[in-house]
Amino acid sequence: MRVILAALAALPAVVMGVTGALAVDAPRLVGPDPFNTEAPAPPIAPDLTDDRRKTRNYPEQPPVIPHNIRDYQIDKNFNRCLSCHSRKYTEQSQAPMISISHYQDRDGNMLGGLAPRRYFCTACHVPQTTANPLVENTFRDLDAITTPPGGGR
């Protein structure tokens, strides 16, 4: 009985030791160590505005925006993005056309115009900055680990 009690008493210390060891291994995502010291704020990274399209990281990733979108108005009055990326205006603007999937409602019915649920572009499409990732990403694209039928192109 006494032995069991002693073991129970020691349990929290053991658990804390284990989690402590884990915490050392895990990368710190927030704040300095110890947490109550104040670290200088890192500089705000500038936007990437080179107009060059980026490879998608996975097939259904919403393409990122390679240009400045400061002050772009997207509200019930006007959608600035559509003034270049809309189907009608891509010839004039030479901008990539918004996908045909954006003209369907969620039941797959084709609509005459952009689906209201797709209207707020920046809900999915975002600009990028030059900031370095906090944590190294080991994600590998499907293409890197398989060979699809037909060789995959």
């Binding site: 002050d71 019930k76 006007f78 003034s83 003209y103 609509l111 115009g113 209201p116």
Partner: protein
């Protein structure tokens, strides 16, 4: 005798109405009054041509001014900013006076509260915006060009999209600044039917 004569001459000079002083006073007084009135006029003209005057009315303070604060014409990397009159009042004197006379309508609007709530302002936004678009279109975007000159614009420093658009439309004289750069300092109204601009074309909204 000589003393008596000179006294009489002096007396006559003093006792008769002055023939030259009045002219002198008129000239000098006119000059001073001119300085005062013209100087005062210009001082007041300049005072009404300051942002502090524009936003002393709450309509301007809480609508266009608040919206402008977000934009690049208010806050940017170099700290140079445009104030209301830089874009909305012509800098050239004659045009300025003409615009000031038109602005008496705005005093009327203020007194009778035509845009004294946010709802009224939003309701009138298209009309108000159209006035400014028409004005800038008519003077070939003069107020834009007071700072942004096409001659000094180095399009090699611009993004590819901007460079192409400026080369094609601005340098060729086909379009003027305001044709494309609407809503750069304030929010846009519903743009349905505006030339060179597109309606939102979202389904269900026409």
């Amino acid at each position: 005798m000589a003393l008596k004569d000179s006294l009489r001459t002096a007396w006559q000079t003093f006792s008769r109405p002055a023939a030259y002083f009045s002219l002198g006073f008129l000239t000098l007084g006119g000059f001073l009054a001119g300085v005062m009135f013209w100087g005062g006029f210009n001082t007041i003209l300049e005072a009404t041509n300051k942002e502090a005057f524009c936003i002393s009315c709450h309509e301007m303070q809480s609508n266009p001014y608040e919206e402008m604060k977000q934009t690049i014409h208010f806050t940017n990397r170099s700290g140079v900013r445009a104030t209301c009159p830089d874009c909305h009042v012509p800098h050239n004197w004659t045009d300025k006076i003409a615009r000031k006379m038109q602005a008496s309508k705005e005093v009327w609007g203020h007194i009778f509260g035509s845009i004294d709530t946010r709802e009224k302002f939003v309701e009138m936004r298209r009309t108000l915006a159209e006035h400014e678009w028409a004005r800038l279109k008519a003077n070939n975007s003069l107020e834009c060009r007071n700072c942004h000159s096409a001659e000094s614009m180095d399009i090699t420093k611009q993004g590819a999209r901007a460079a192409q658009a400026h080369e094609r439309y601005l340098f060729s004289g086909q379009m003027t600044c305001i044709d494309c750069h609407k809503g750069i300092a304030h929010r846009l109204p519903d743009m349905t039917g505006v030339a060179h601009w597109q309606p939102t074309e979202a389904s269900g909204q026409q």
